[in-house]
């Protein structure tokens, strides 16, 4: 199947290759320094199950809750982790992220692609994305990733991306992903899959650095999340209006991100 995209003819194979290249963890965009929210969660005690907050126990901020001593937990080892660590929470976290932060990013990427196909101004997409991302720490991480992504994209496709973003700017990553999709012949679904897959892989590979795990286990998580990625992408692939970008919030994710951003002792930027 051939499409004319932004003046360039492309076929299915070349689009898939571009998708593979962009999804590759080796792509030099600085993404290895990010954890898609996993480190903030782990630092807040995600892997160390604490008793749930119940009435009368007080309202200590869950983000700063001290996890109980390891021996007290009876959670199963589940394929890795130190004694008592509930590593199954990692793929669960990824699933929640897919429905919230990632869905917003994927929607923004799809709309950005749609607008850049006609070389239209992307600012409305950025405003819509930012309005749906109330946490400054989450916005900052997305913009830092976007900056690195844009640097590479401009090196690879300078003419096609000319004018998409102000010089030296740090647009959020989904806008860059969408613009790249527009100039490389990716369709909307592929752009959304890229955003979703990238977040899931980021969490899985960050997990290996945060707790002892078998890499086959984390890969299994990624594989098992493919349907959720596909479902999320299918939900947003048809979007063309910034107003329709998903807006599902994740209050605790925001709180974790804010706390993590103030920490100096961390492996990842976000």
């Amino acid at each position: 199947m051939t499409d004319v995209v932004g003046g360039r003819r492309s076929d299915g194979a070349s689009a898939l290759l571009v998708l593979a290249m962009l999804a590759d963890a080796r792509l030099p965009t600085g993404a290895h320094a990010h954890s898609a929210g996993l480190e903030p969660a782990v630092q807040a005690g995600l892997l160390t199950p604490a008793p749930p907050l119940t009435g009368g126990r007080g309202t200590g901020h869950p983000a700063t809750r001290t996890p109980p001593a390891t021996g007290a937990s009876t959670a199963p080892r589940g394929g890795g982790g130190r004694g008592g660590e509930d590593v199954a929470r990692v793929p669960a976290l990824a699933a929640t992220r897919l429905r919230t932060v990632t869905a917003t990013e994927a929607g923004a990427a799809v709309v950005a692609r749609h607008l850049w196909l006609d070389r239209r101004d992307l600012a409305p997409v950025e405003h819509a994305w930012a309005a749906r991302t109330p946490s400054p720490a989450v916005r900052d991480a997305a913009r830092r990733l976007g900056r690195g992504y844009l640097r590479l994209a401009l090196a690879l496709w300078p003419d096609d991306l000319d004018g998409a973003f102000p010089a030296g700017s740090a647009p959020p990553r989904p806008l860059v992903a969408g613009a790249i999709g527009a100039v490389t012949g990716l369709d909307a679904l592929q752009v959304a899959l890229l955003v979703g897959y990238d977040d899931v892989q980021t969490i899985a590979s960050a997990a290996l650095k945060l707790t002892p795990l078998d890499p086959a286990t984390t890969t299994r998580w990624v594989l098992d999340l493919h349907p959720a990625v596909a479902a999320m992408a299918a939900d947003v692939a048809h979007l063309t209006d910034p107003d329709d970008i998903p807006s599902a919030g994740a209050p605790m994710t925001d709180a974790w991100a804010q706390t993590h951003a103030r920490t100096t002792r961390r492996l990842f930027h976000g």
């Binding site: 080796r26 792509l27 030099p28 965009t29 600085g30 993404a31 290895h32 320094a33 990010h34 954890s35 830092r144 900056r147 690195g148 640097r151 590479l152 960050a206 650095k209 100096t264 002792r265 961390r266 492996l267 990842f268 930027h269």
Partner: protein
């Protein structure tokens, strides 16, 4: 002769080497010695973001905001070689905030002998070993030791305590580098400190004048244009041969082409015969 064009950006100098060899104190020393002469900035790649940066800030050798810490996601090799984006961003932000800068030092997260900097990130690199790591390390070689623009064997004053023959170690290192520059450094040995700072000064001038080609000390043949003295600096013996920074090429034996623009993938000069 080198054109006197003013480069758009600072000389970027990487500092790599195993954990504990004294990279951070070497950087502190360079800041202490040179910050009054040239405009400097530092980017650190510590594992947990902040520790090395904090040490440098606490040492008071450079304005706090000129020392930037970068997260590397527990991948110190990647951050200086395979995907240098986070470091490039930090260097660019430094230049934006404090520019124009003459020299930016980039300290890699302490790691093993295979870690080397990409030419996309730095124009030259120093590899730091120390005597406490054992004399064997120099013999072992590896891309970091063999091909860095300058090898520093640090903490030479500790040699007696760890039963290391410094002169032997320096000679081994020199052999592993086909005679490339090696400095045996100790804070307490003023001559060695001067040798180091002279090298950095000369490199800064040279690179900013467009005369140095950053080369990835990877599979390509080793390159070291920068070794104007071409001598091994031994702890207490042969004096450092000073060089005229205006005419660095005169010491190179044989005839070579001397391009003065930077070609990241061209080999500008061959190593001078020892």
């Amino acid at each position: 002769m080198a054109e006197t064009t003013v480069p758009a950006r600072a000389f970027r100098l990487g500092v790599a080497g195993p954990v504990g060899t004294g990279k951070t104190s070497l950087i502190a020393l360079l800041c202490r010695e040179l910050a009054d002469e040239i405009e400097m900035g530092v980017v650190t790649n510590d594992i947990y973001t902040d520790e090395d940066a904090q040490i440098l800030r606490a040492a008071g050798v450079l304005e706090i905001d000129r020392i930037r810490a970068v997260e590397t996601g527990a991948c110190p090799h990647t951050a200086i070689r395979d995907d240098v984006t986070p470091n490039l961003i930090a260097v660019e932000d430094l230049e934006r905030d404090h520019g124009p800068l003459d020299l930016v030092l980039v300290e890699s997260g302490g790691d093993n002998l295979t870690a080397t900097f990409s030419p996309a990130l730095v124009d030259a690199q120093i590899f730091v070993l120390d005597v406490a790591g054992g004399g064997d390390v120099a013999r072992k070689g590896g891309p970091g030791i063999a091909r860095a623009d300058l090898l520093v064997v640090n903490k030479t004053d500790l040699a007696p305590y760890v039963d290391v023959d410094v002169r032997r170690m320096l000679a081994d290192a020199s052999d592993a580098r086909d005679g490339g520059p090696v400095i045996g450094l100790s804070r307490h040995d003023r001559a060695s400190v001067d040798a180091l700072t002279d090298w950095v000064r000369r490199m800064t001038t040279l690179v900013r004048a467009g005369g140095h080609t950053p080369v990835d000390p990877g599979p390509m043949a080793p390159h070291s244009h920068a070794d104007e003295d071409g001598h091994v600096t031994v702890h207490s013996h042969e004096p450092v041969v000073d060089d005229d920074p205006e005419h660095p090429h005169e010491r190179v034996s044989g005839t070579h082409a001397h391009p003065h623009e930077r070609h990241p993938h061209a080999l500008a000069h061959e190593r001078p015969a020892v």
